[in-house]
């Protein structure tokens, strides 16, 4: 009788499969604990919700070879200074609205979603809002009545009316402002913000 070599042995591969799977999973769990603590709102990578009271920018850092969010001085949203709890409430309303209106099946958020409409990761900083003074009003009007304020850039693709109320629209704007402050490791690359000089 020939002896089965190790590489062809069923029990060897069975044990290998178990050890590899268990080992990988344990590493994943450890990394998950670390990642979640590093990305809690209020940490270095994901700012607290009250960041909506501040000026936010996204600037290219020569030494790092990527763009980084830059949190500046006070720049109130809708002329109001929000406490952390109020800011969280507003962002939460916005986040729930983006889910209930199914935004992700046309747009991408942090690059994830569908590809029929532009990415929203840095939507708050987009040059399309013309000037920082007009921005928040333009955004609210657009969200509440996208057909009349269509921004199709010559594509004929219009956002449909999603019955977004004024409160929800303000929540979405707050959510987008907060999201634009997240450190996304330089994604998107080469993005010129509304604050950048030509």
């Amino acid at each position: 009788m020939n002896e089965t070599p190790l590489w062809a042995s069923e029990s060897f591969w069975k044990k290998t499969a178990i050890w590899v799977t268990a080992g990988s999973f344990i590493i994943l769990v450890v990394l998950t604990f670390d990642s979640l603590s590093q990305t809690r709102a209020g940490g270095k990578r994901v700012p607290a919700y009250s960041v909506i009271n501040k000026k936010i920018d996204y600037q290219y850092k020569e030494g790092l070879h990527k763009s980084m969010p830059v949190i500046g001085d006070t720049e109130l949203l809708f002329g109001k200074a929000y406490t952390e709890a109020e800011a969280e409430q507003l962002v939460m309303l916005g986040k729930k609205t983006t889910q209930a209106k199914n935004c992700m099946n046309c747009h991408t958020l942090l690059g994830n979603g569908a590809y029929y409409a532009p990415d929203l990761t840095k939507a708050w900083l987009d040059k399309g809002w013309i000037s920082t003074e007009m921005r928040e009003d333009l955004m609210v009007q657009f969200l509440m009545n996208p057909e009349k304020n269509a921004r199709t850039f010559g594509s004929n693709r219009r956002m449909p009316n999603l019955n977004i109320t004024e409160a929800e629209a303000k929540g979405v704007v707050a959510f987008l402002k907060w999201m634009s402050s997240i450190d996304t490791n330089g994604f998107p690359y080469n993005f010129k913000t509304i604050n950048a000089e030509e």
Binding site: A17, T21, T39, K96, N105, F153, I182, N190
Partner: protein, 505 residues
């Protein structure tokens, strides 16, 4: 209201119902399928397969509507918007594939365990509960579509998270049904006999059901939201589903070709080691840009670059076994689809995934049509194919284990369906890849991902042309599906010969 009116309406409704019943009866007579050929477990399996085929049809139909909107944005605008069509397109896909997998497992369960399914009644109830729930969810998607920004919308209409949009009540229902399914698998193996295949299957189902619960929570912090969302999506599609396919493949290679159990089980363990060894930490390639720490760039890049290796192993395994058995098989269409699976999985999931998985290139390709290109070939190649192979296995037995080898009557149908479906999906994949390249260069690299950059790329003639080609190949895929359904309903109908015998060697 006049009573004569009411009677009139009632009469009309009864007449309509009668007509529908007649149509259904005519259809049954035409199909002429005899369920006495099937065991009880197989009957449950073909219920799942039937719904899977219907949802497959819905997937392609709504995919075509969404593809049309890329070319004519005003098509169905304000009535069935792109977001709705796209959601039904991807949800129908996930659900039909799950139905197919559950069907496959019920199909092989009695054979593999050597006993009857323990909780058959419960299994049947679970099937009808799940099917009722799926119908209701789809109706709400189509008729209600969206809700206000409140928890109630997430509980009853739509959770708004790509692939797992199903409202929370349905999530709970899905988990309950999966538990019944899991109980049936474990209890049946325990009553009958365990095997290597049974062990891998059971542990994989624990992971599959457990992971789904990671996607059932609302989180305001979008980084955390997407972190857990990828646990469900990635660890399903790139880990547990792949292992499930490995299990189904192992069993079907024994049945179709007569490969020895020792060989398929050894291969299965190798595949599990490679699949989970690369796929679990390969999850990191989704953590490059969502706010998570920089170490994921290294870990995700490294392990996801290894992800194609198990898929190469699966190709070698399938092709080698088919070769050593000189392609002698009792079911030619099923074997052809198994071979299509090996290559489709390798190219779609392996090659197309690897092409844009390293962070240095993913910085430009993330969130472009490049992902859509990969998604189309990978889901079809890895998962649609193996389910279709099982549809052919099931119909062969449903017809009374008839001949399905060389010289099938009307054999052109299955061959053309195979060609049209594979050619159509491959064509869409190439068209979307061209669109993805163009988007990565123009929108991302040159224009820096602004909204204006996005639309510059979308309006570019090469992108527009790619969308037309995608539509065209989508139509070919659709034609292939229609032919496939026709073939499944008619193949072996007038066949007198019994299936070719495959002996283990």
């Amino acid at each position: 209201m006049d009573t004569t009116d009411t009677t009139g309406i009632m009469q009309k409704a009864t007449a309509l119902l009668g007509k529908a019943q007649n149509c259904a009866n005519d259809f049954k007579t035409w199909v002429a399928l005899d369920s006495t050929h099937l065991s009880d477990g197989q009957k449950l399996a073909v219920n799942y397969f039937t719904v899977a085929v219907i949802l497959f049809f819905a997937q392609i139909l709504f995919g075509m509507l969404a593809a049309t909107q890329f070319i004519f944005p005003n098509f169905l605008y304000g009535f069935l918007d792109f977001s709705v069509n796209r959601m039904v397109h991807i949800n129908a896909m996930v659900v039909w594939m799950l139905y197919g997998f559950i069907g496959c497992v019920y199909w092989l369960l009695e054979d593999e365990s050597g006993t009857e399914i323990v909780g058959l009644k419960l299994g049947n109830i679970a099937f009808w509960v799940l099917t009722g729930a799926v119908t209701l969810v789809v109706l709400v998607y189509l008729l209600v579509q969206i809700g206000p920004g409140k928890d109630s919308s997430l509980w009853f209409i739509n959770e708004g998270r790509e692939y797992i949009e199903a409202p929370r009540w349905a999530d709970i229902g899905i988990v309950a049904v999966m538990l019944v399914f899991f109980y049936n698998v474990v209890a049946t193996f325990s009553k009958g006999q365990w095997s290597g295949i049974a062990g891998v299957l059971t542990l994989d189902l624990v992971a599959l059901a457990g992971l789904y619960t990671a996607g059932m929570f609302y989180m305001t912090n979008i980084t955390h939201d997407q972190y857990w969302w990828w646990w469900v999506i990635h660890l399903w599609v790139e880990a547990t589903w792949e292992v499930l396919v490995g299990v189904i493949m192992a069993w079907s290679l024994m049945k179709l070709l007569g490969v020895k159990r020792k060989i398929v089980q050894t291969w299965l363990y190798i595949e599990v080691a490679l699949m989970f060894g690369s796929g679990i930490l390969g999850l990191g390639h989704h953590y490059f840009w969502i706010g998570t720490p920089e170490y994921w760039l290294t870990i995700g890049g490294f392990f996801s670059a290894l992800e194609p290796i198990p898929l190469v192993a699966m190709v070698v395994h399938a092709v080698y076994d088919a070769g050593t058995h000189a392609f002698k098989s009792g079911n030619h269409p099923a074997l052809a689809w198994i071979i299509a699976q090996a290559f489709g999985n390798f190219f779609g999931a392996g090659v197309w995934g690897f092409m844009h998985t390293l962070p240095q290139i993913n910085l430009y390709t993330h969130g472009t049509q490049w992902s859509a290109s990969h998604g189309h070939l990978a889901f079809f190649g890895a998962y649609a194919t193996i389910n279709i192979a099982f549809f052919y296995l099931a119909i062969q037995h449903w017809r009374g284990n008839v001949w399905m080898s060389e010289g099938i009557k009307n054999g052109w149908r299955w061959k053309w369906a195979l060609g049209l479906l594979n050619g159509g999906v491959l064509g869409m994949t190439i068209a979307l890849l061209i669109a993805g390249y163009e988007q990565s260069f123009i929108e991302r690299a040159v224009e820096g991902s602004t909204w204006s950059g996005y639309f510059t790329a979308q309006n570019h003639p090469s992108f527009q042309a790619a969308m037309v080609w995608r539509w065209f190949f989508g139509a070919i895929t659709f034609a292939g599906l229609v032919l496939l359904i026709w073939d499944l309903l008619t193949i072996g109908k007038t066949e007198e010969r019994k299936a070719a015998h495959v002996s283990e060697n």
